[in-house]
Symmetry: C2
Subunit: 477 residues, 2 copies
């Protein structure tokens, strides 16, 4: 097994990693046993234990400054800092998270989610891919970086911020960033919480979608009415809310919220060419989605629809009788929960106003509407191609993948990255080695172990590349 990964002719980083892979696996086996589920208060002690475990591991790795931050309303986060001996070294902020998703429905797991099992290249446990495995490859990467370069400190100032609430929507992350603004100052951000297209198709995320979430409540008659006595003569809020949803897209799959596309940064021809290079196997995609068809905005590929186009989805709808059989009522109330995924350069505040206008225009006489938004929404995040930070990242990944071209991709989901970038005002790149079938957020989460070593190698190489680029080029890019 070892022989397959070690190729001494390629790089000293790869050699070191190949020789110490068992260290990573042993650490991961320990850490994955801690059920740090941030969404479940009964696991908050475990979230703390998880933070303490990673803090210890960072100290063991050699980080001189390590702290568990619980000096705010957030669950424990870990801060680790290793200053370079080089005076002018750029400062890199690595973002990841140590909390994990809930595990229910437990009966769908084939193994205990907190008893890691290895089967060939597959390591199965909750958090294996999202995000403990990916965070942990960085500790091996730092050691490889030092060993390969003969240094006693990294070539860059390395700061880790490891959040403990990401799987709960990062509710206090911006407050944490504000509180610790000084410690987190940096020249470039590396986010390690994403994935690649396939084991043999290296790629990097260059965008994450933003989000606006709204619950639209329609109120009709003040009580449920007998649909025989009143049916056909008064507005039915369940019918009305369905019509509102029906009006949400046109026949081409385009969202009908006023001004929705005004600020969308359209894909360039070059970007579309790059998207087209990504292996896009509809059967595979449908298999993972367990869906029987594709659909969406006309004129765009599935990858473009997910990564580069904004969407409107119904996350929940309800009104009236929900039980078995029939109850012939006109319900008094109905609601729909909508989420809008945003892309650069859409502004959540402007989309929020558009949604309000859309609801007003689709509220019939006799229905009163109330719209609740989830916070201020999440901004979309876009990584420009061709910047020094992007080229350094792309070069490091390519080197770890034996010179293969690194494809830019975009993620459909939404995370704290845009807020992080806004807080630290530095360019941001994504180094993640999850795979599409990792089943993150689902039963039987797994990570493909060789991908972790690829990630470690890319990180080890990246610190040297960032140092070579230098501070001013990184931040000016």
């Amino acid at each position: 097994m070892r022989g397959r990964l070690s190729s001494p002719t390629v790089s000293a980083e790869r050699d070191f990693i190949a020789e110490h892979r068992d260290d990573l696996l042993a650490d991961l086996d320990q850490w994955l046993r801690i059920p740090g589920i941030s969404a479940q208060p009964e696991h908050h002690d475990d979230v703390r234990a998880s933070a303490e475990w990673f803090a210890d591991a960072a100290r063991r790795t050699g980080f001189p400054t390590v702290a568990v931050w619980d000096d705010g309303p957030w669950l424990p986060a870990v801060y680790a800092h290793w200053r370079s001996d080089d005076a002018d070294a750029p400062t890199v902020l690595v973002y990841a998270h140590h909390d994990v998703q809930p595990v229910d429905p437990l009966e769908l797991w084939h193994t205990d989610p907190f008893d890691p099992t290895v089967d060939g290249d597959v390591l199965r446990a909750r958090g294996a891919s999202d995000d403990k495995g990916q965070l942990l490859f960085h500790l091996l990467a730092v050691r490889a970086h030092l060993a390969a370069t003969g240094r006693t400190s990294p070539a860059v100032n390395l700061t880790f911020i490891v959040e403990g609430e990401e799987e709960s929507g990062s509710p206090h992350f911006e407050e944490l960033l504000a509180t610790h603004r000084d410690e987190l100052a940096c020249d470039v951000v590396v986010v390690t919480d994403t994935g690649m297209i396939a084991p043999d198709v290296p790629s990097t995320v260059t965008g994450m979608r933003g989000m606006v979430s709204a619950t639209v409540n329609f109120h009709g008659p003040d009580l449920d009415l007998h649909s025989g006595v009143f049916g056909g003569a008064v507005p039915n809020p369940a019918t009305a809310i369905a019509r509102l949803v029906g009006a949400l897209h046109d026949g081409h799959g385009r969202v009908q919220v006023p001004g929705f596309y005004d600020d969308v940064l359209e894909l360039t021809d070059d970007e579309r060419d790059l998207f087209a290079k990504v292996p896009d196997d509809a059967a595979d995609f449908l298999g993972v989605a367990q869906s029987r068809a594709l659909s969406g905005e006309q004129g765009f590929s599935t990858l473009e629809r997910i990564g580069a186009r904004p969407t409107a989805e119904v996350n929940g709808i309800a009104g009236g009788y929900q039980g078995a059989g029939h109850k012939t009522i006109i319900p008094s109330d109905a609601f729909v929960k909508l989420s809008f995924r945003l892309v650069a350069d859409q502004d959540p505040a402007k989309i929020t106003r558009g949604v309000q206008e859309f609801v007003r225009a689709n509220t019939p006489d006799g229905i009163t509407a109330d719209v609740e938004f989830e916070g201020d929404g999440v901004r979309p995040c876009l990584v420009p191609l061709g910047t020094p930070a992007y080229e350094a990242l792309s070069g490091a990944i390519s080197e770890a993948f034996d010179g293969a071209q690194v494809l830019p991709t975009r993620e459909g989901g939404s995370g704290p990255e845009a807020g992080l970038q806004a807080a630290v005002q530095a360019p941001l790149v994504f180094l993640g080695v999850g795979l599409p079938d990792d089943q993150i957020h689902a039963p039987n989460e797994k990570v493909t172990v060789p991908m972790l070593f690829k990630g470690a190698e890319a990180a080890a190489l990246l610190w040297s590349r960032f140092a070579a680029v230098g501070r001013s080029a990184l931040t000016g890019g």
Copy 2:
């Protein structure tokens, strides 16, 4: 109080009723204390007690043949028969029911639903209007009929069939009718389970809507999907079910089920003139409905929409996340519960096929649809105006209301009447004295007591009128 109703110059029937009104009130007070809720198994003993109580009351009134029928899967029904001494007398079948609606939410009742209270002309209790009060006026009516005519048997053969499952949708009524076909043979049916427009606007129901009920289940991906990772790229069953509902009506409020209006018996100009005579106070209607607007099929009045036009209503809709806050999923499943109210001469079987076709046409690629129908549906029921049976009824009601014109109305609801009519193959008329604000099926049900005496008077007069018309004219009409 008594003086207001008694007008000795009008009829001996009215005199008798005025003198014996306390009998009706005393009986009603006893019977309303029995909580015969057919929908709740824990009250099935009460349904039996309710049947026994009415059987005793019928015996006390003088009915020679009285039986509680529980010789089938139905809850106890009461049969009472009084043969006329006149050999050629027509046979009248009176239909009513003795079971009552559930009383929840109990906290909205101002008094105990099973402790009747009288406040002026208002008697408040569950079942006061629907249907015990109305059934009970018939016993006083028979006595008045005999006393006023000096007969020892009624002028018609009188048969009562008093169902115990009407408030549960009459699930076994057709089987009961088939089992007791011989005892229930008749020349005309009088249904006593409806209402009038207002205390000073006598009217009679001339139609009840039929019904087809369907639950449409849409299945999309085999699991709830992350709306970030998959949003905008696969069909969302909640969006799809909403679009199906959105397609259910056109911009004019017309139902888009294929062939929906093909067999609708359009209102004649005369019928529309009669509808237009009915006081139609939008403010009153909206007050009772507690709705803020009217709506419906364009080109028709509210009364026409409810009584004479078919409708499609959403009784319930659900899919995806229903809790507080947000969960960004594409749900795996969604459903909508639809009810279609039908008018003459729509056929439930044909409408069922149309709904299946509509669902097929509105099921997008990647969604699988399953439609469940509630039984075979309910046929609409229409009473032709101008028949001897209708004229006799109209005359009797008019006489009880001092010669006022009796307006034909149509009820929006659906009941067992069409099945009853089909089983006995006899003309059917409606004698009911409920009022729109009786709150049947709701908390604080009441009956307006003087209406019960009007009903008794009309019934007492009706038996003489039916006898005068004679069997052959009634059945030939």
